[in-house]
């Protein structure tokens, strides 16, 4: 509650500031940013819902998908009956009034669509993982360096929530002490498949199952946590070790349904473990950051700090403490990092996307951090499928 009020008000405040800046940036008199959504699957329609809830910031004017039934479903979310629909993203980019595009397509299409959108001068909200491979990531970095006024934001939305900013702040302030271990999981007990209306659409709809289109569980799920670690510590993994297999759903898929990746960050003295399985749902999303002073356990919208017990004892010089009542969520000594769960990260991410379009500043999840994460994901997958440990190369220039 408290948080929501705060955000709403700071939102108003930010709106006021934007008016001031509009003289030398996009004129906010232009109204909401006109935006086209390319890719109307699960994530694309999720983005449409979020955009629809921000009519002051964004107005969707076009949607695009290669599948007719997806396009029809997306159109039903159009309350203004004004969206143009396309099956070819190039046609959407030809529509003159569009200022920005969301790309929420299968991973292998990120790069061709992103380059076309960038070349057409559009601001871009590009879903994670930024690109399918390393070369594409490096190329997008080069392109965006020549376009300082254009905004490219990568859809690692979780870290846009106030919770993840707060955690970054705490880690930087040394609240956890020296951090040496990070454990991440993103587990489920389903096939991770979508139903297909007819078998010929199998590869189009279940693209996540095929290595030609997808980076599998590492790219689709673990990339969020990989990205957060890179961002908080402002570094990238140096060494990648991985193993896995198709162990549960032997249904013709090519991407592993059970993966485990270990990454080493020698400059930080840090090891991080990333795992995902489609064969057990108990842990679900797990994100634990462990330091000498305490551990933070994160969900996407809630976080708890567990100070190390030895430190708590040092403080115990009194027999009792009186104070205003402290709300606790659990019985195991954890302290909530924020008083209430945060909203879905997408709303915070889109708000900032709008702000950055006005000010032409670099987003927090930008082409450089996006490339760093895309390369990390790609190297993890390389280690996973080749069964050979691999390393970050100094030739990856990200500045």
């Amino acid at each position: 509650m408290e948080r929501r009020h705060f955000l709403r008000n700071s939102g108003l405040l930010a709106g006021g500031l934007l008016l001031g800046n509009s003289l030398f940036a996009r004129s906010s008199a232009a109204g909401p940013v006109k935006i086209g959504v390319i890719g109307c699957g699960d994530r694309g329609t999720g983005m449409i819902h979020s955009l629809n809830q921000m009519p002051d910031l964004f107005r969707i004017t076009a949607v695009c998908d290669v599948l007719d039934f997806r396009l029809l479903a997306a159109q039903k979310l159009d309350k203004t009956n004004s969206w143009k629909t396309y099956t070819d993203y190039r046609k959407l980019l030809d529509q003159a009034d569009i200022e920005a595009a969301v790309i929420a397509t299968p991973l292998h299409m990120h790069y061709p669509i992103a380059t076309a959108a960038i070349d057409s001068g559009r601001h871009l909200y590009l879903e994670k993982t930024m690109t399918y491979n390393i070369e594409q990531a490096l190329d997008l970095v080069k392109r965006m360096q020549q376009r300082p006024k254009q905004v490219l934001q990568v859809g690692h939305q979780y870290r846009y929530s106030p919770l993840y900013y707060k955690v970054k702040e705490m880690i930087e302030a040394g609240d956890l002490g020296t951090i040496t271990q990070i454990d991440c999981r993103w587990d489920r007990n389903t096939t991770w498949r979508r139903p297909t209306p007819n078998p010929s659409l199998e590869r189009t709809i279940n693209w996540r199952m095929y290595r030609e289109y997808s980076g599998g569980l590492v790219a689709e799920l673990l990339s969020h946590q990989i990205d957060f670690v890179n961002w908080v510590f402002d570094t990238h993994p140096q060494d990648f070790y991985a193993t896995g297999g198709i162990d549960i759903h032997k249904d013709g898929r090519e991407t592993y349904d059970n993966v485990q990746v270990m990454m080493r960050y020698p400059d930080k003295g840090l090891t991080a473990n990333f795992g995902a399985t489609c064969g057990n749902a108990r842990d679900g999303y797990l994100f634990k950051i462990k330091g000498t002073k305490g551990m933070i356990s994160l969900l996407t919208d809630q976080g708890v700090l567990y100070p190390e017990k030895s430190l708590q004892k040092e403080k115990g010089t009194v027999d009792g403490v009186t104070g205003a009542t402290r709300i606790t969520w659990n019985k195991d000594g954890g302290l909530p990092i924020l008083p209430e769960p945060t909203k879905d990260g997408t709303s915070y991410a889109l708000k900032d996307f709008y702000n950055k379009i006005q000010t032409h500043e670099l987003p927090d999840s930008n082409v450089f951090t996006g490339a760093r994460t895309a390369i990390s994901v790609h190297l993890a997958n390389q280690a996973l499928y080749s069964k050979i440990a691999c390393s970050w190369s100094d030739t990856y220039v990200l500045t």
Partner: protein
């Protein structure tokens, strides 16, 4: 003759031995649990683990079924949903009677019927996201006030269907008293009970050293807590704190306190940051602490000036913005 001389000596020796043995046998026990959305902790000194966590948990759960707003089927929630009122149980009655006494004593500033306003300002169980306007406040004020409820026997009447109770400001104190009572039933006379920052203390620790109590710093940051503002040696009685440093939010550039003035309908806006009250029992201390927050510094000092049974340690903000503190005469155990 010789026998008669020796007898008193023997008795004295025996008594000394017993006392020494007793002292040696005292052990420290600690129970830590979770109740009413917060934590509780009990430290007691006894010869054996006479009271267990199962007992204290069950006692607190039973109280929750009476007066917790977080328990959907609690009596208090049933009362709030009812149009005319309901039959209440003994703990509910004890709390509401004390709450009404304190309501009178504080001129209506500690009010068990403040819930509609608390909810409107977004501090209720169901979070409101829209700040109330003045028309809403005026409307809600008609449902607030202790004159809108009456207790006849076991039946608690509401005189308007919209009247709702919130006993959170006093029930924690009562819970602490119940825990203390439980310990005393087992002849435990050295204990410190704490629930949600409200304390009840009796006796001294083994070795005859007093229990020490920290009065929490006012930064309200639980993740990196600041040092205790004061450390006091506690005598028998209860110590509770009300403060607006932990539950608040910012709106329109101002801090909105979770403490609502039941007479105006608006969140408190005065110099008070926190008040720590000492009284004989925790229901009294807890019942008054919110009222003192609403009274403000001068009125609270005047109220407590001649009291022989209650005292307060107050942290407040001076007009220049600096933080200061003061203590009343009867804040027992307070040591500079």
């Amino acid at each position: 003759m010789g026998k008669n001389k020796l007898l008193p000596v023997a008795v004295v020796l025996l008594l000394l031995l017993c006392t020494a043995a007793r002292q040696q046998l005292l052990r420290r026990f600690q129970l830590q649990g979770f109740a009413q959305g917060t934590t509780y902790s009990i430290v007691y000194y006894a010869t054996d683990s006479l009271v267990t966590l199962a007992q204290t948990d069950s006692l607190l759960q039973q109280l929750d079924r009476s007066v917790s707003l977080y328990h959907p089927l609690s009596l208090i929630n049933r009362f709030n949903r009812s149009t005319k009122g309901i039959i209440i149980d003994a703990p509910f009655r004890a709390i509401i009677q004390r709450a009404l006494e304190i309501h009178r004593a504080t001129g209506g500033l500690a009010d068990p019927t403040v819930k509609p306003l608390v909810d409107a300002w977004g501090f209720g169980v169901v979070k409101n996201t829209q700040l109330p306007d003045s028309a809403t406040i005026q409307k809600l004020l008609h449902q607030v006030g202790a004159d809108k409820i009456t207790l006849k026997g076991n039946f608690l009447y509401k005189l308007q269907p919209g009247v709702q109770l919130d006993l959170n400001g006093i029930a924690q104190g009562y819970a602490v008293d119940l825990l203390a009572l439980l310990l005393q039933r087992y002849h435990i006379h050295r204990y410190l009970v704490e629930l949600g920052g409200e304390l009840r203390i009796k006796g001294r620790k083994a070795g005859n050293t007093p229990f020490t109590i920290g009065i929490e710093g006012i930064a309200g940051n639980d993740l990196a807590p600041e040092p205790m503002r004061k450390i006091i040696e506690a005598a028998n009685g209860a110590i509770t704190t009300s403060g607006n440093y932990r539950k608040q939010y910012t709106a329109g550039g101002r801090q909105v306190s979770h403490l609502i003035n039941p007479l105006t309908g608006y969140p408190l806006q005065n110099e008070m940051i926190s008040v720590t009250v000492y009284a004989r029992d925790a229901i009294t201390a807890d019942g008054y602490d919110n009222g003192f927050m609403a009274m403000g510094l001068q009125q609270t000092l005047a109220f407590l000036h001649n009291r022989e049974d209650m005292g307060a340690y107050i942290v407040y903000r001076r007009p220049d913005g600096s933080v200061a503190d003061t203590v009343t005469r009867f804040f027992k155990g307070y040591k500079r």
